[in-house]
Amino acid sequence: MDFEKMKDAVKSIEMPETMKSRVKKNSNILEKEKSVRFNSKKWISVAFAVAVLLLIVIGIPLFDRNGNLVSNFTVTAYASSDDGNQLYTNLSEEKAIFELSTEQRIGVIGSVGGDGANLIFTNVMLNITGEDIDSITYTLSKGKFVEDVTLTAKERANKDWLLSEKIYFISTEPGSDISQGIKEIGNSYTVNYNEQDKYKYTLAIPHDGNDVIVEDMIIKVNVKYTDGNSEQQDIVVTQEPNSISLKLN
């Protein structure tokens, strides 16, 4: 394999002139729109509104639509990116956008069974923080929680075992004995508060066959406290361009 030839091959790729002109034209149009859009009075108004909103948030306890104090726990959504960094966001009624890597799952080549072909696999995981919490139960209105698992060549060959473990999708890099599998957990699971780190379950969202999420997905988060009381918050998952958003309902 001559890597010098590979370099020449890639270097020989050129952006077509028509495409280059289109890119220049679009950039010019957007740049001009940006210049026109800037309006200092408008920005002062926006800044003022944000300042007022902040004062309200800081100064007044938060109530829900029924006049009750909002829940005593915080839902954090997080995800690992390809570079190993983790993105954390405390969920609120504002949309939290996750442009998340499903890269490791894109190259899925083996389908053992199940309906995973109609699922968008995300890297989004959830975590709860609060006081005196005993356990948390997550329930999806649709879709599934899944877990990434690593398989040896022997395990990969054992189809009965794969099915019993609900490991439905497998990808293997060429020439490697190690495979990556996706294990189906189901649409609900319960985890003890102190054991959340042990459960790395991610969201798999159903799509229409063209990577489009037709309806929003609702995640019900039910928190059980040590005194026996429980509390619930709903999270709405919506598709955005090249990403998904999560917000409290």
């Binding site: 394999m1 890597f3 030839k5 590979m6 370099k7 020449d8 091959a9 890639v10 270097k11 020989s12 790729i13 050129e14 952006m15 077509p16 495409m19 280059k20 289109r22 890119v23 220049k24 679009n26 950039s27 010019n28 957007l30 740049e31 001009k32 940006k34 210049s35 390809d82 570079d83 190993g84 960094n85 442009e99 998340l100 890597s101 499903t102 890269e103 799952r105 894109i106 190259g107 899925v108 072909a117 699922l119 968008i120 696999f121 890099e173 060429p174 020439g175 990577d211 090249n242 990403s243």
Partner: protein
């Protein structure tokens, strides 16, 4: 004054597209294996450049910034694509001047992303391991491993085809 600013921006767009357009397009095309997606990412990268107007120490810094933004955008672009899309070998003729290069490009494009990005930056763009470490925000041992594994995979793929 305003007219001068608009003129400068227009001139800047011309300059960056002429200088970096081909480089970004070939990187994106090899990563995404889809010319429309590659064009979208190149367009987004230039818009990002114009919107953020970052300050650079020199042209190498500017080039590195554009590569980082484009490769990150490529990763995002693929996140919701469940199945790997791959450009047809005959389509490569539209973008490559060299007939003998088609096969080599095909082998490269079939590699997993993390390996082909590192191979592209090392062999094609001539970046050193330390520089790739900064560009991709990964450790130097990860860069070396990806280079080694990428080389093995492409050799293996090449050998299988020629056997």
């Amino acid at each position: 004054m305003l007219q001068q600013a608009v003129w400068s921006t227009g001139q800047d767009i011309e300059r960056i597209v002429d200088t970096y357009g081909n480089m970004l397009f070939r990187i994106c095309l090899v990563i995404l294996c889809n010319e429309n997606d590659a064009e979208d990412v190149v367009q987004d990268t230039f818009i990002n450049y114009l919107t953020k107007a970052p300050t650079f120490h020199d042209s190498e810094h500017e080039k590195a910034w554009l590569i980082t933004v484009a490769t990150n955008r490529c990763k995002n672009m693929r996140r919701f694509n469940f199945m790997r899309r791959h450009i047809d070998i005959s389509d490569l003729q539209l973008y490559s001047k060299d007939v003998e290069s088609y096969g080599l490009l095909d082998h490269l494009m079939k590699l997993p992303n993390k390996h082909k990005i590192v191979l592209l930056l090392f062999y094609v763009e001539g970046y050193k391991v330390d520089e790739i470490t900064t560009l991709l925000n990964i450790t130097s041992s990860a860069v070396k491993k990806r280079l080694q594994r990428g080389r093995e995979l492409i050799r293996e793929s090449y050998r299988k085809e020629n056997d």
